[in-house]
């Protein structure tokens, strides 16, 4: 079952779907196979042979009615230290060229905003964060890279994210972090959850010429 709200990337819409998913799980988790949050949607997986669709629809409506408009949830605040540019961020130059700015400007813009985790997807632990300043948010790369290293910080189409594992990827890689969005041996393997607020901070890159 797919529950759709007006398709918008905004905090209120997303906060509502995050809370709706939570509320639905609280009401009938044991009878649901999975609940997945999108930017503006909730998808519920269930077994139609053991659960009546009409009943589930009524539960979803009741869960939604129970949400208070104003009660936007506040997620965790997470700081992500990033080594921008160079080998860590091979596409920083391209993004700067797209923006008509210097690399330092792109770094300053990317690291000055607070981003919201709207949803998780793609691979385990990958968080879709938005909204990236449109000046530094080119569309996806024409052809995806075969291998993007784990920890790569990337931007595309108004979003930013961190690759949890090495995979192919079509976003522009501007830096790298040592934080692990997915770590199977951590108490909570997932660093990010929908609703979290994320800031990127600049790690000075040691230059070959020693301390400056």
């Amino acid at each position: 079952m797919l529950i759709e709200l007006p398709p918008r990337i905004d905090d209120r819409t997303n906060a509502r779907v995050v809370m709706l998913a939570k509320e639905l799980k609280a009401r009938c988790a044991s009878r649901l196979r999975d609940v997945v949050v999108g930017y503006s949607s909730v998808t519920v997986y269930f077994d139609p042979l053991t659960m009546d669709m009409g009943w589930l629809e009524r539960e979803a409506r009741a869960a939604d009615d129970g949400l208070r408009e104003s009660a936007a949830i506040r997620g965790a605040r997470i700081e992500v230290p990033v080594r921008y540019g160079g080998e860590s961020g091979p596409d920083l130059q391209d993004v700067a060229a797209f923006a008509g700015l210097s690399q330092a400007d792109v770094i300053a813009i990317h690291s000055s905003a607070t981003y919201r985790v709207y949803m998780m997807g793609f691979v385990p632990g990958f968080a879709y964060m938005a909204v990236v300043d449109p000046r530094i948010a080119p569309p996806r790369r024409g052809s995806p890279r075969e291998r993007v290293p784990a920890g790569s910080v990337a931007i595309a189409a108004g979003q930013t994210g961190i690759y949890p594992i090495e995979t192919p990827g079509g976003w522009h890689v501007i830096g790298r972090t040592d934080l692990k969005p997915y770590d199977p041996i951590r108490a909570d393997p997932f660093l990010f959850h929908p609703g979290d607020e994320v800031r990127f901070t600049v790690v000075p890159v040691a230059s070959a010429g020693g301390p400056s």
Binding site: L2, D34, V36, M120, G121, V123, G125, Y182, P184, H193
Partner: protein
Amino acid sequence: MPALVVARPGMLTTVQDLGRWGQQASGVPVAGPMDAYSHRLANRLASNADDAAALEVTLIGPELVSRGSLVCAVAGAGFSVALNDTPIDTRSCFEVPDGSRIRFGSRGPGARASLAVRGGFDVPATFGSRATSLVSRMGPFGRALREGDELPVAMSAPRVAPRGKPLQLPGGGSRVRVLLGPHDSMFTADAVTALLSSRFVVTPQSNRMGYRLAGARLERRDETELLSEATPMGSLQVTSSGQPILLMADRQTTGGYPRIATVISADQPAAGQLAPGDWIEFVACTRDEAVDALRRQEAALAGAGS
């Protein structure tokens, strides 16, 4: 501990159970078998629970050597299977004495078979599942099996389940039922007609994640960019070039392409038996028909009727 040892891995042999459910909200793919019906049937023939870990074998099967005596069962694609070079009847389970060699040979209809062993494979679980996701490299090996891999076998009390009928295997292609949507209204009427009246072919660019289909271009009338949302198995997503991709077991959890239709659960096993070069046709049905088809399939698996 008894085990199966991989002597030759075959083309693509993976450990699968019924999938890693419950973590998709964190981006963890479900994975699991391409043909869940045959996975469950193989487990039932081996007196296991439906979700025990078994091997999924693809197109060219493996060669396996037993350590300790085992009881195995095979369901799905029509492979010839030999035990120490003697062909065996795969309609029921078979005993595998210590040091025996199980060899998959020529393949009849279907693309994938499940090999279950009584007790199930005792390999580590991640988030409660032993399914292998090739893309996120999750699961007991995090990859397809290789020569020398050892698969320990758990000892457990056999449960006797009624044996169901084998899946009707596609001979060169399959006609599957779909529910239109959720984004069919974003496509032209011609595109919907083409989807339901023409034949598509599974291209070589197809794998456990999904089948890229060749055939009619499915044109959109509404070019609005969609926001990413969950992508269930059986979704027919359409790329910007108009090519449909049928999302299969190892799909990502979410995606942003419009989905013109979804293959119903009861017909996903048949889709999972297709190989590159096979044809596929889509027929629209209603939600009630989809649930009814699933109910009848469950009855067939439970051995009801004949």
